[in-house]
């Protein structure tokens, strides 16, 4: 018998709230820094590129051009990474629940078996519902 689950808590439990807050902090910091850098005409080049250019210049007299080993033209790169992000996100999320489900409570698999149906979508989230 699965415990009563409040769908609102599944959607917006403490885990999701913490993730949203961390996400917003990072994004605000990046956008604020980028705005400041734009105002002050800073280029924002990566230090890796700067030092690589310096190293290449010292070695061979000219800076190398930086491009991927497999170069995807135009927006195909955006498409490839969007698809990769989608499936990797699903896999990480799925694995995350298995790893971080509170082991002090009942085992995830035994809950699935006991309920006879359901699955991950009906499981209580780690921070949301008391089992």
């Amino acid at each position: 018998m699965m415990p009563e689950i409040d769908d609102r808590k599944i959607f917006m439990d403490s885990f999701v709230k913490v993730c949203l807050i961390a996400f917003l902090i990072f994004e605000v910091a990046i956008f604020a820094s980028a705005t400041y850098m734009n105002i002050h005409k800073m280029v924002g080049t990566g230090t890796d590129d700067l030092v690589n250019d310096a190293g290449a210049t010292a070695t061979s007299g000219s800076a190398t051009t930086h491009h991927p080993f497999i170069n995807l033209p135009g927006d195909t790169q955006l498409g490839a990474f969007s698809i990769a992000n989608f499936f990797v996100g699903l896999m990480v999320g799925y694995t995350w629940r298995k790893i971080y489900f509170d082991t002090k409570k009942e085992d995830v698999e035994s809950q699935w078996k006991k309920s006879g149906s359901g699955g991950p979508d009906r499981l209580p989230s780690p921070g949301g519902v008391k089992a």
Partner: protein
């Protein structure tokens, strides 16, 4: 710290590959051993690999210097999955970054692994063990590991570039090393502090939720699913 193709002379990048190769067998052995001990380790290792890939690709702007750089994630990974396993993770991560992101290079995977996967890892892990041995709180030991593991990565990378100019360079080795490091340093130092904060934070959360996944904190009485237990009759 992602040195690109065409910068290091062949003698150097081959040497760095050879040095990296010395860590592969112990890394695979550590992974195999810990999978036997805890079946959660395998998916956990994959997730840590994803985390290192993302963290070491995540360019953060530094408005003081006007440039961007990234943390490494390997000090954190070394504490939670083991230092030698982190070297293997670094090789995989650096390969994908070189091939798909143009971040680093194919010939320089060895050199980049030595800086990020070996120096960052072992400096971070060593400091973590030292501070824990001295009974420091988790947040302090993890923070120190993150801070100095990050800086060690960039020091090593600058050292590799300086060694490349050992013959034929215009400056003595130490000065050349510091010149390259100062290319990274001003941007990297604030990011090393960020790395210290998230290393401490993530480790704190992990120890509170899944202490069994971290060897130093695994309670002796807590049963974790092992391969032996599953293989045996009546096992789960």
């Amino acid at each position: 710290m992602h040195i690109e193709d065409g910068i290091l002379q062949p003698a150097w990048w081959i040497s760095w590959y050879a040095a990296t190769a010395a860590f592969v067998a112990p890394g695979l052995r550590e992974i195999r051993k810990r999978i036997q001990e805890n079946l959660y380790y395998k998916p956990f290792l994959a997730m840590v690999g994803v985390a290192v890939f993302v963290i070491s690709s995540m360019h953060m702007p530094c408005p003081v210097t006007g440039s961007c750089s990234h943390p490494c994630g390997t000090p954190l990974a070394s504490i939670i999955v083991g230092p030698f396993a982190t070297v293997i993770i670094s090789i995989v991560v650096l390969f994908f970054q070189a091939v798909f992101l143009g971040h680093g290079g194919i010939t320089t995977i060895g050199a980049n692994t030595i800086s990020m996967g070996v120096c960052g890892t072992f400096v971070g892990y060593g400091l973590w063990k030292l501070f824990r041995y001295l009974n420091s709180p988790v947040w302090l030991a993890a923070g120190i590991a993150g801070l100095f593991g990050d800086l060690a990565t960039y020091l090593a990378s600058a050292g590799e570039l300086a060694l490349n100019l050992l013959h034929g360079g215009h400056l003595p080795f130490f000065r050349q090393w510091m010149v390259f490091f100062m290319g990274y340093g001003p941007t990297q130092f604030p990011l090393a502090i960020v790395e210290a904060i998230f290393t401490a934070g993530i480790l704190h959360v992990m120890i509170s939720r899944r202490p069994d996944l971290i060897p130093d904190f695994a309670p002796a009485h807590q049963a974790v699913p092992t391969k032996t237990a599953l293989d045996s009759p009546g096992g789960r």
